[in-house]
Symmetry: C2
Subunit: 669 residues, 2 copies
């Protein structure tokens, strides 16, 4: 294994020793051979870029503060590879540096069930962030650099990126964020091999990368990315510059060191066939040992380990709760903001408390994070109108033992950044995403701002939990619950003030004895004739209607499913006993609560008559109450719908009951 002299560790000395330079060169040759082994064995992959980036990677892993025996050490430097398709390069370096057995990486590259995936995945020691979709790595780096501020670490964060991906706008967002927050311990390296899939970057999309970085206030160094001394000196310069974020633009050669691969675009995303491999490995003066690896590959991947992130257990005191009384309207977002502020205050001086950080995208007052910003301004990150960056930065920070909230409007926090949330979910982040302004309850801002698809979108993300509380009291208790949870959790709210849900006796339903349990539905009203399944700000409308009907002797049960993604099957079965179910939601009727209920009913063979009330098309601006009326989600329409369903059902019940009687009769005979 490669040993580097103390002088070059952590970029201490300003130059690379001659001996170290020699060792790195030797290692580079070995790694290039391994890149070819992996890709040819798998029959696919991206050898070209891996071979242009590998000298940068080797220098980094050799000289930065990383350690193969303690890959999760909190004080370590963080190295993020944004152009994840260079995975063969990353694995070759990590494997040869002892993070895992190199033979394993070669043999099982891109094999089903293997951690050595096509794009780098965090399930491997040494890999900090799963990438693949380009342009997100610098944002992840910002998140990890913020972790250094929050935890007061003295480490450095390096982000290695491709040149093609510089075209992604999200990178400019990350650059601005880094400068605003003085993340001078963040360095990025651009592998400028001048080629992307479709050819020269100058032809695909002309760009002045240097000017782009400088226009956002970064210092730019340019180097030969295959000259170890230059690489080292640039890193040294960057690490010791505490006044600037530094970008190192590294001129490299795609397919470097194999004559017929150099600067040939084709090898960006294609593996060498066996004959060319033989030729290439000979050029690299290595033995052609592919057969041995082929045999290893045949053993399969069952013995390999994919390491999940260590579990995150936030230590947060959430004592007490706030009881909202029915005499006053409160919006759920104020309840969230109040609980956040109160809990922040409780934990600010607690030594063992997990630090809390909050990201905002220019909507502090509306999403109610102003209380937090006042109490803990140091951990409040105002990201401006840069949601793509924020989603990733917040996600990355949440993997670093920080309890991270990002609050935004629904259309920005979910719709605009769906893919970033997906990549977060794949990265097993612990993001608490709080979205206000859901539904047509947003009102006058109109259809571009009506977030009526959040549930349908988040339903695609396997590990995201969703909570849509019914009133301020449930919101308060849900916030206290999620403060202590690992994983990705979405807390969703409308904009308007809403009534506190009460019991039939007029006291708060979610009272001082109530504790939030994820996945548990609430029976807000019992009713034997029909069941209304709802959530969020629609719950109090359903309760109002049920109470009106109850006075006329019609029993409409009201069920609050605040955790739509994990339905309470017991309560659902109970709701189904009426035989008539209405789902009632301020959400796209095709993808929301109603569809989730239908899915469950179908799968569990619960036969009922189901009627879905939801939004059928994009809606105009308007006052929320007018919009609810316009789309047929007002209380009057719910009332009428209930009556009509009961009437229609009465007929069919009569027929069924006639049949049942006949059956009974027949059986008796």
């Amino acid at each position: 294994m490669l040993q580097i002299s103390a002088a070059n560790h952590n970029f201490h000395s300003s130059d690379l020793t001659f001996a170290d330079e020699n060792s790195l060169q030797k290692m580079a040759r070995k790694c290039r051979g391994d890149i070819l082994r992996m890709t040819t064995l798998a029959g696919c992959g991206h050898p070209g870029g891996a071979m242009s980036s590998v000298d940068l990677l080797i220098t980094l892993y050799a000289c930065a503060r990383v350690n193969s025996t303690q890959p999760a050490d909190m004080e370590r430097d963080r190295i993020i590879v944004s152009h994840g398709h260079t995975s063969a390069g990353v694995y070759s370096v990590l494997g040869n540096f002892g993070f895992f057995p190199i033979d394993e990486a070669i043999a099982h590259f891109r094999q089903a069930g293997s951690p050595y995936e096509g794009h780098v995945e965090h399930g491997l020691p040494g890999v900090e962030w799963s990438s693949g979709n380009l342009g997100q790595g610098l944002s992840a780096g910002c998140g990890m650099a913020v972790a250094s501020l929050v935890h007061d670490l003295r480490n450095h964060v390096f982000v290695l990126m491709g040149d093609g991906e510089q075209q992604k706008g999200q990178i400019s967002e990350a650059r601005r964020f880094a400068v605003k927050y003085g993340l001078t311990h963040l360095t990025c390296v651009v592998d400028l091999n001048q080629l992307q899939i479709s050819g020269s970057i100058r032809h695909v999309m002309p760009q002045n990368i240097r000017a782009n970085f400088e226009s956002d206030g970064w210092r730019v160094l340019e180097i030969d990315g295959h000259n170890f001394q230059e690489i080292y000196r640039a890193f040294h310069e960057a690490v010791h510059d505490r006044d600037h974020c530094v970008a190192i633009i590294s001129r490299t050669v795609m397919g470097k060191d194999v004559s017929f691969m150099e600067n040939v675009c084709k090898w960006h995303g294609q593996a060498l066939p066996a004959d060319l491999f033989a030729q290439a490995i000979a050029e690299l003066e290595q033995v052609n040992d592919l057969d041995r690896y082929r045999q290893l590959r045949h053993l399969g991947t069952e013995h390999l380990t994919i390491r999940p992130r260590p579990p995150f257990q936030p230590d947060i005191a959430t004592g007490g709760s706030f009881l909202y009384t029915p005499d006053k309207l409160t919006d759920n977002r104020s309840a969230w903001g109040k609980a956040l502020a109160e809990i922040t205050r409780q934990n600010l001086e607690r030594e063992s408390a997990t630090p809390i950080a909050v990201f905002d995208c220019d909507l502090t007052g509306s999403v109610k994070t102003d209380g937090f910003a006042e109490i803990n301004p140091r951990n409040f990150f105002q990201s401006g109108v840069m949601e793509h960056h924020t989603a990733v930065a917040a996600g990355a920070l949440s993997t670093q033992d920080v309890l991270v909230f990002w609050a935004d409007f629904g259309v920005f926090g979910v719709d605009e950044v769906y893919n970033q949330l997906r990549i977060n979910d794949i990265n097993e982040t612990n993001l608490k995403l709080v979205c206000t302004h859901l539904g047509v309850d947003v009102g006058e801002d109109g259809k571009t701002h009506h977030c009526i698809d959040y549930l349908g979108l988040l339903h695609n993300l396997y590990h995201f939990k969703t909570i849509i509380p019914a009133d301020p009291n449930q919101t308060d208790r849900a916030v206290r619950w999620l403060m202590r949870q690992p994983g990705n959790i979405f807390l969703g709210m409308g904009r308007s003030k809403c009534t506190v849900i009460t019991k039939p006796d007029g006291s708060p339903f979610f009272d001082e004895h109530y504790t939030f349990h994820y996945g548990k539905a609430d029976i807000l009203r019992e009713g034997a004739d029909i069941s209304v399944i709802t959530m969020g700000a629609m719950a109090h409308h359903a309760v109002n209607v049920a109470d009106t009907l109850a006075a006329e002797g019609i029993g409409a049960g009201v069920y609050n499913f605040s955790c739509a993604k994990q339905m309470d099957l017991d309560t659902l079965s109970r709701a189904c006993q009426t035989g008539l179910v209405i789902t009632y939601e301020d959400h796209n009727v095709h993808t929301g609560l109603g569809t989730m209920v239908a899915d469950l009913l179908c799968r569990h063979g619960l036969a009922v008559k189901l009627h879905k009330m939801g939004i059928q098309d994009y809606v105009t601006s308007g006052e929320p109450k007018d919009l609810l009326t316009a789309v047929g989600l007002d209380e009057k329409t719910l009332n009428l719908t209930i009556r009509r369903m009961i009437e229609q059902y009465a007929k069919s019940v009569k027929e069924t009951s006639d049949l049942e009687k006949t059956v009974k009769l027949a059986k008796n005979i």
Copy 2:
């Protein structure tokens, strides 16, 4: 109505005449009053930015080539307002310029059912693009500027933007695209009023807007955005500069011309209460006529018109079809590419043919648009790794009588740009979105690249059609069909080569007599015991299994629902007659075909035993066939599942049949 002298029309003369300057100033005062009328009447809105932008808007609408009597004239200049929250400003100008009655706009601003929405919407004459979510306007402008190239128009495109939204990365993508394609007839104006919702832009997110534009090769002019002569001269300069894309940075004052509103951040997103309105309107030397408008507002919005976009009817000859024979494996994407190329060739010289344009994001070879690029390079737009921009530019172009295709991998064409697609859908675009690399069929590129949620995502977009053809023949025919359709259509495909689906006699199922009908399902195999509902690349696996089982006397029907969003209810009912239904898809099991089927079954009371086969969690890299096995979607597992379900059902059928006999007996008695 304002009349401008001929010299200043279309920015002909280099200066504004004194008389015109005076008229514009008078108009500005009137418009500012109207902005306050609208917002105060509605009790909400964004007066501050509307008042800082309004002088820019007035100059534009007065002097550009736009005409209130012919708002849809093809030769017109296009004016796009990216910061759509300044709607009151836009409506005040359009109304006072005769695009619609100003009194109507004032009275019904932000009222439910009104076209005068909170953010500008294209349902109004003079509004080219619905905006609201920031950072997208310049991309839309690029799309419209491309239309000028495609149609060989001599018009100009103006995009007005806010300063806060400059933080969005997508804008940098649009800048690069504009320079690459020499869109020098595109001018953007940044309203630099220095304030965004949370305060000064310098505090929220420091940014050097000028340097950002210049770093991407734009020419930048800086002006006083309230000095009509300066505004005019800058536009004149920009319109006549045919060497550069020009950005005009306009220093303005939020809340301009009302003393207590100027530079006060609060009035960004808040309307004046009645008392302050009275004070403000007096300062503007206008009468307080709010009561009159209040009365008009009470009349409601039913008499108002929202104008849909004029229907797009592409004139494309799609004659002939290509028949793929079962002796050769072909991937659906090659079939799409071949059909596209062939049809392009057919229409290239046809005088009346609608022009076809194709956008690509650095994946030409993989998404098979290389044929088109060769035949019609002038209409092929290589957008690089800039998906957010591309989604919007392609969408905007598709509203300009061009048949627009954007081809990309699923995770980039859907996941990454979901919100851009949503805004396109709201804009009634006619985008043909072609995504290859769907499902775990993507294989070795791993979980970040497995697009297993496209259907679940697109299901949220009300007007998007989806087509997932089963084999190359159906792909060929679907492409020919969609070439002649308006609206947004998604065509989805896997990566792998797949078998041509055959009839039981071995001939192609989708043969020379087959025509694609949107919403019609295909009965690939009849079967009385169980029904398998599937789509796309899974169809041939289902057919294989059905054929194997048929040989053993088990009747498994195979139903191809290529149009999942518009289910063929007749065929579904028929499939349900077996009592046993399996949905079988290379897609997230929670949000795909299975869930859509469940939803329909539930709503239409079709009682069957449903089993959903799909993907339960993110999947690793690997060869597609290994991944299908790993997730239990291989043919063997389908075969076993069918057998197990039939066995289990046999028992319950027996019980049911006993009961039925009893009933029959009883009835006879």
